[in-house]
Amino acid sequence: MRTNSASLSSPTATTAQSVTVPGEVPGAEIRGLKVVFQTPAGPMPAVNDVDLDLPLGTITGLVGESGSGKSTLALAMMNAVPKPGHIAAGSIRLPSVTDMTRLQGKALRLARGTALGYVFQASQNSLNPLKRIGAQLLDLGRAHGMEDKGALLRHARELCERMGLDPVRTLSAYQHELSGGMRQRVGIVFALILNPSVLVLDEPTTALDMISQRTVLDIIRYVQRERHLATLIITHDIAIVADLADYLVVMYGGRVVEKGPTRHVLQRAAHPYTEGLIAAIPRISGDIDRAQPLPGRPPDLLSIPRQGCVFRERCAFAIDQCSVQTPGLMPVRVTRRHDALEEDSALLDGQVAACHVRAPAPSAKVST
């Protein structure tokens, strides 16, 4: 299936693909995922050659500017890529589903919600405005064969309480009677009611005020711990996940350009794009005067380079190789230079980046 991963041929590169620490149980395993949209200029990949592991009991933050393919990746996890797009290659394994990309019809419908809970980017309006919330939860339960209304409602009330919502009032309310923050929490209730082990939240705090943001993030952390979920939080704002995520995955132009434990990625970002994202945020870069907006604009489907590094048009470090060869994800090393001749480099635990300059392939094994 790895038709587009020419750079993965070396054994070093392949082992470096996985961020999973030994002993962690995979919640979701995405391999070689490619999502293509039909455009007037032909098929264009919005997600390309993505490998991603979401271990149970961890939170992964997926960051990148808008248009990098984050939502498309999340929708692909539900096998719900909107037309004119489709999953062109790859597999998505969930604890209860061998390969989400191969499901269709009723099996797919039943897997949605049960195998993977999804909190929508526009969760503000993810409910039928004409129906009470409790009644919609019952619709959801019924759709997945949960005939025991009582048990379902008990679970719903308990979840509401966990979210800090008044259960009775919330379940008998209509969507418009809830504030933005409450709606988002109700969105999480809907995502968790069928007990999935994987939870995907697309921009869960966008459009919320600061206090609601805080509350929602706290709740995510809290249910995550309680339910031992594999959580993926998608955001264009790296600051949102800086404290929350165990792992960071950085996407650009449909590709994963860097990933690794949050601490490492934030402290020693290897990829120039990750550096740029971090530098753009005052809270993390530390100094509001030094916060630098990332120059240039993210590519859209039509302007993503087909060959070479996707970031090269905005990259200050680009070399000739960058325009001909697509960099693969390689282990990131920290190098301390003692003098001109002696180098001492150490592998940073599980951190990988796709950059010819910052994370070069071991020279002997480069395959062009």
Binding site: G113, N128, L130, Y174
Partner: protein
């Protein structure tokens, strides 16, 4: 806030009693505005009607002359009408008209020899209301269901054919439908009766043959109403469904794995909502159509009565017909507004 002690949040939902009180107040206010509007329209029509060129006696006189009646005989016949035509100043007539109106007295018809206008209007009303409502219901049900199909199937042949049919039907005015149907099915292919709302050989009353002939004669007018509004319903429903299909909650329902039938119900109810108001508001439009349709099918309804009243300058009857139509439209408006609060929870709060 600590994640272990989430804050309790209050949700505002209207309690039963307060809601009914609110609804009652709202309805009261709407009815009051409605009454004021009716009085305003009554005033307007009174002066408009009386400012029409010509007067009843002169018009009748000329009609008689045109029919070949000798001037002296015509003058003699017309003399009988003087008793019904007021010669007071217009402003005094207006005062009297409004005063009577408040007592539900619309005056006496000039042409129908002093018959109370209220009687005339009420006896004509069923001939309009029943076909109008039947046509409305038929076209609404047909247009709305096919519009939903046209929206869901909008990318394939069926959807496109339905949309085109909607545009075509919508483009044809009511009177063209009436003339076309009359020509096709009473002249070219004479399978329907013409010129009477029932078979004159049957004895009027609650008997089978009479009712059957009523229904039979009503088919063409009802069809004319239905065909003239079918296209509008189809197009409106189609665009409403397309809009709702693009709403976030529809995608959400799909991604949560709701049953296809449940998803359809969610979409249908949301798409139907804006049409519901239009349905009641279109009552006025249908009444307008009755003027042509009843003329073509010789149907003794309000439209037919109104045209004759205008031609004869029968001021009280004209005003009475206008007023009845106004009241019907305003009542439909209030009903729409009121019922809407029941089917859309979002306006309940604003109520």
């Amino acid at each position: 806030m600590s994640p272990d002690s989430p804050p309790s949040v209050k949700v505002t939902t209207g309690s039963g009693k307060a809601r009914w009180a609110r609804l009652g107040r709202r309805l009261g206010a709407r009815v009051l505005t409605g009454v004021v509007m009716v009085l305003a329209v009554a005033t307007l029509t009174f002066f408009l009607v009386h400012s029409m060129p010509g007067n009843p006696i002169q018009t009748e006189y000329q009609t008689l002359i045109a029919r070949g009646v000798s001037p002296s005989l015509a003058a003699q016949q017309v003399a009988g009408m003087y008793g019904f035509v007021s010669s007071k100043p217009l402003i005094d007539q207006y005062g009297q008209y409004m005063w009577h109106l408040l007592q539900f007295n619309l005056g006496k018809s000039i042409t129908a020899s002093g018959e109370p206008v209220v009687h005339l209007v009420l006896s004509a009303a069923p001939w309009t209301i029943i076909p109008v409502l039947s046509g409305l219901i038929v076209s609404f049900l047909l247009g709305v269901s096919l519009g939903a199909v046209a929206a869901v199937r909008r990318t394939n042949r069926l959807g496109k054919v339905l949309s085109v049919s909607g545009s075509l039907f919508h483009g044809v005015p009511q009177f063209v439908w009436a003339v076309m149907l009359a020509y096709l099915f009473t002249t070219l292919l004479p399978i329907f009766p013409f010129g009477s709302p029932y078979n004159i050989l049957d004895t009027p009353g609650w008997n089978g043959p009479f009712i059957l002939s009523l229904v039979y004669s009503a088919i063409l007018p009802v069809l004319a109403y239905a065909l003239s509004s079918y296209g509008g319903w189809l197009l409106t429903m189609r665009s409403s469904v397309v809009t709702v299909l693009g709403d976030d909650f529809v995608l959400a329902a799909e991604l949560r794995g709701l049953r296809p039938l449940t998803q359809l119900r969610y979409v249908a109810r949301n798409a139907f909502l804006p049409l519901f108001t239009t349905l009641l508001l279109s009552v006025g439009f249908m009444f307008g159509g009755s003027i042509f349709i009843e003329e073509v099918f010789d149907y003794p309804g309000l439209g037919y009565q109104l045209v004759n009243a205008v031609n004869a300058r029968d001021y009280p009857l004209m005003s009475g017909d206008f007023l009845f139509i106004t009241v019907a439209v305003i009542a439909a408006n209030i009903l729409a507004d009121f019922l809407y609060t029941f089917i859309d929870p979002r306006v309940r709060k604003a109520a």
